[in-house]
């Protein structure tokens, strides 16, 4: 059997040159086409997977975003142009404010808290003994389901819960964390940050390990203090890890859904309503798949812009972080 994917040997190549003519060139062309066909055949399962699970849904979502569909009968899809996008930003629509605003604040808050916390904790862990143990402890929330995390924190935030119990013991009045629109979103942000800090710590401790010790030795010889060392050596050299954490946390924050639905269901009022929750409701509760798909594409654009901005901000002197 001829191995059509095997590279041509030197002898075969020579013969090709020596006897180059219309027949030989045609033969080579056919062989190359056969090679290409075989290559695509091998790629076919993967391409089929992407076609079925990525391109097909994406195309369908694009079609729905410019249609009206109640979700019951595929024959009822009715094209409406850009009406759904206009509806999202029309007077009376809650999508821009508070839904999209909440989504951005939620993601921003999560990134700020998780990044700050994880940098501090990772730096501390890097100087401790039993680093594996500490990393495991901080990673534990990641292996817990979001539903469990959300419910436990919900009970802790309750008027008679642990957090208010501590406040009361300190002589401070109770706070309606999840019932007050002013505190509901920050309260959920804290939980999201707490739940995602473990991954960030793992990435950052790996980043810290990759910083050569010679920089710190040189800094010590020059008499640099710990704050200077942290700001001038650790943070700049952690840039690639920080970028990774920042981008992934932001993406998670922008697409967050489960924690919100468990803890507040988007309330009180619209105080914690976020884009993913709104999409779910539009599609599965209200049967407005057009609006849901349009909202999904708007969120996709937001995610894209935010990610590009982050990449731009972290870029320095042509060096991609």
């Amino acid at each position: 059997m001829v191995n059509t994917l095997a590279p041509e040997t030197a002898g075969q190549a020579d013969r090709g040159i020596r006897y180059a003519g219309p027949t030989a060139a045609g033969h080579r062309g056919r062989a190359r086409r056969r090679q290409t066909a075989v290559a695509y055949l091998f790629l076919a399962p993967t391409l089929l997977f992407f076609a079925v699970f990525l391109f097909l849904p994406l195309g369908f979502a694009l079609l729905l975003s410019m249609s009206r569909w109640t979700g019951f009968d595929l024959g009822d899809i009715e094209p409406v142009g850009v009406d759904n996008f206009a509806g999202l930003f029309a007077d009376g629509s809650t999508f821009l404010t508070p839904v999209l605003t909440n989504t951005l604040l939620y993601a921003l808050g999560t990134v700020a808290l998780a990044l700050t916390g994880s940098v501090l904790v990772a730096t501390c862990i890097d100087k401790l003994r039993f680093q594996g143990l500490w990393r495991t402890l901080y990673f534990l929330p990641i292996v817990t389901t979001v539903v469990a995390v959300g419910n436990v924190w919900k009970y802790m935030y309750e008027p008679g819960g642990l957090v208010n119990g501590v406040l009361n013991a300190l002589g401070i009045g109770s706070v309606a964390f999840l019932q007050d629109p002013g505190t509901a979103l920050p309260s959920v942000v804290v939980v999201q940050a707490w739940a995602s800090v473990g991954t960030a710590i793992l990435v950052l401790t790996a980043g810290l390990k990759s910083i050569p010790g010679s920089y710190y030795e040189a800094a010590a010889l020059d008499g640099a203090g710990p704050v200077t060392v942290f700001l001038r050596i650790t943070l700049p050299l952690l840039r690639p890890s920080l970028l990774f954490v920042c981008v992934t946390q932001f993406l998670t924050g922008l697409q967050s859904f489960a924690l919100i639905i468990v803890m507040t269901k988007g309330g009180p009022g619209d105080a914690t309503a976020v884009a993913a929750l709104e999409m779910y409701r539009q599609a599965f509760s209200y049967g407005d798949w057009g609006i849901a798909s349009a909202a999904a594409f708007v969120l996709f654009l937001v995610v894209l812009v935010v990610t590009l901005l982050q990449l731009l901000l972290f870029r320095r002197k042509g060096e991609d972080a």
Binding site: T70, G71, F72, D73, L74, D76, G87, A90, D91, G92, S93, T94, P159, G160, N164, L167, N168, I172, G173, S174, A176, L178, Q179, D180, P181, K265, G266, G267, P268, G269, D270, A271, A273, R281, F284, S285, Y286, G287, D288
Partner: protein, 449 residues
């Protein structure tokens, strides 16, 4: 004589053919519609019924009559499928889009407009529509109708009334439940208690942000009792921005501001624990309370929803479910026949006196502590004593206003809930909340038509 086998063939099928055939067969079996009979005259038919009676006594209660039907009917059999209520609408959608919709659907009446507009529900044939109009109360028939056309047999009907804790009211020096809004406010203030840190010990009147049905149900029951309506007569806009709407929002706002209500408290936990003095809720709750409270249930009383003035006309909210036939069903005649048998044919009722008869559905609903829209059945079934707390819910069938079921009703309800919560938490004033509700609901409801 055994045919000679070719080398490499397995049972007459080469490995290559087998490898190709297996996935195709699996794919075909996965995508194929379930067997529901051939449809030829005289051949057996299997009807599927999709409901939310997914567990516990509800599932058993429905399975009883279905088993009876299957045992007494040779040709047409019924198979029940059930999902949790929270997954019911989604399941309707997904199965319908995949061409796997059940023959008989059991939707929440709030969704009827949405389902009718999407062409999922089949209108009831004239003889069934006439039977439904004759046998059920007005609220139940209106809940099962869209645009004046009947789409199914009403099953459980829930009316809203005032639950109160007799012990807490007595402790506050009150002899009985409030009959007017003024009395309600007074009773709520007198029964509410907080500790020095502001934690609620007893909520006078339980306003709850637990879910759409609780938050909106309480408000719409009060709105109806004030003579107001949520949706206009033509169903294309909201009518809440009215004097009645202002009065209800004002009442709730005052209750929260004065500390008589604490909307953050989950009333479904707090009331059985004696931490809520009064709350408006639906009749199904009596069954749950009995189970949860045990002997403590004797402290629970139920009264009609208070009216704004002493001489006011009573009204409250009613919600419900119905059994309808899928527009895509291949056996609509048989499906309607089964529904008629289940919902209108009277059978003897045990423990309700000699000769007492009620429909299978009514008996089923009462057995799980619920009601149907058939007042005659309810009177029969509850005549043998039973829980006196069910009486106000039964009486309310005569004057209850059905929950609006226009296209977009689910979204309108969610938007109303958000604005009620914004009012309760001080994000919006009474007027702002009414204006925002009107603007948002009008925009979304108009889109749904």
């Amino acid at each position: 004589m055994t045919p000679a086998r070719r080398p490499g063939a397995a049972g007459g099928l080469s490995r290559r053919h087998f490898a190709l055939a297996l996935p195709s067969a699996l794919l075909a079996s996965g995508c194929a519609a379930p067997h529901r009979g051939t449809g030829r005259p005289g051949d057996p038919i299997e009807l599927t019924l999709l409901s939310h009676y997914a567990s516990g006594e509800l599932k058993q209660a429905l399975q009883g009559p279905v088993d009876e039907w299957n045992a007494t009917h040779d040709r047409v059999k019924v198979r029940t499928k059930a999902v949790e209520f929270t997954d019911l609408l989604t399941t309707f959608m997904v199965r319908q889009a995949a061409g796997q919709g059940a023959d008989i659907l059991h939707p929440y009446c709030l969704w009827n407009g949405q389902l009718v507009r999407a062409g999922v529900l089949r209108p009831a044939p004239p003889e069934h529509a006439e039977e439904i109009g004759r046998g059920y109360g007005e609220a139940a028939v209106r809940a099962a109708s869209v645009g004046g056309e009947v789409y199914g047999y009403p099953t459980e009907v829930q009316t809203y009334a005032l639950y109160y804790n007799k012990r807490l009211l007595r402790a506050a020096g009150l002899d009985g439940p409030p009959g007017t809004w003024r009395e309600l406010e007074e009773a709520a203030r007198r029964t509410a208690r907080r500790d020095r840190y502001g934690n609620t010990l007893v909520q006078g009147f339980g306003l709850s942000t637990y879910d759409d049905s609780t938050t909106v149900g309480q408000t719409l029951a009060l709105l109806n009792s004030a003579g107001g309506r949520f949706v206009s007569a033509d169903g294309r806009s909201t009518a809440i921005d009215s004097a009645a709407g202002r009065a209800v929002f004002g009442l709730e706002h005052r209750l929260v501001v004065t500390g008589a209500s604490a909307p953050g408290v989950n009333v479904y936990k707090a009331f059985p624990s004696g931490q809520v003095a009064m709350v408006i809720s639906a009749g199904w709750w009596t069954g749950s309370l009995k189970e949860l409270m045990g002997a403590g249930y004797r402290d629970v009383g139920v009264a009609p929803v208070p009216v704004p003035e002493a001489d006011g006309r009573r009204a409250t909210l009613s919600t419900g479910f119905m059994l309808g036939v899928n527009a895509a069903s291949e056996h609509p005649r048989e499906a309607w026949e089964f529904l008629r048998w289940l919902n209108t044919e009277k059978v003897g009722v045990q423990g309700a006196g000699r000769g007492a008869a009620a429909t299978r559905m009514s008996a089923l609903q009462v057995s799980v502590g619920s009601l149907t829209g058939r007042a005659d059945d309810m009177r029969t079934l509850l005549s043998g004593g039973g829980d006196p707390n069910l009486r106000p819910f039964l009486e309310a069938l005569a004057y209850a206003v059905p929950e609006p079921n226009v296209p977009g009703a689910q979204q309108a309800k969610s938007l109303l809930r958000k604005n009620i919560e914004a009012l309760w938490t001080g994000q919006r004033s009474v007027d702002e909340a009414l204006r925002t509700t009107r603007r948002q609901v009008d925009q979304e409801v108009s889109r749904s038509w």
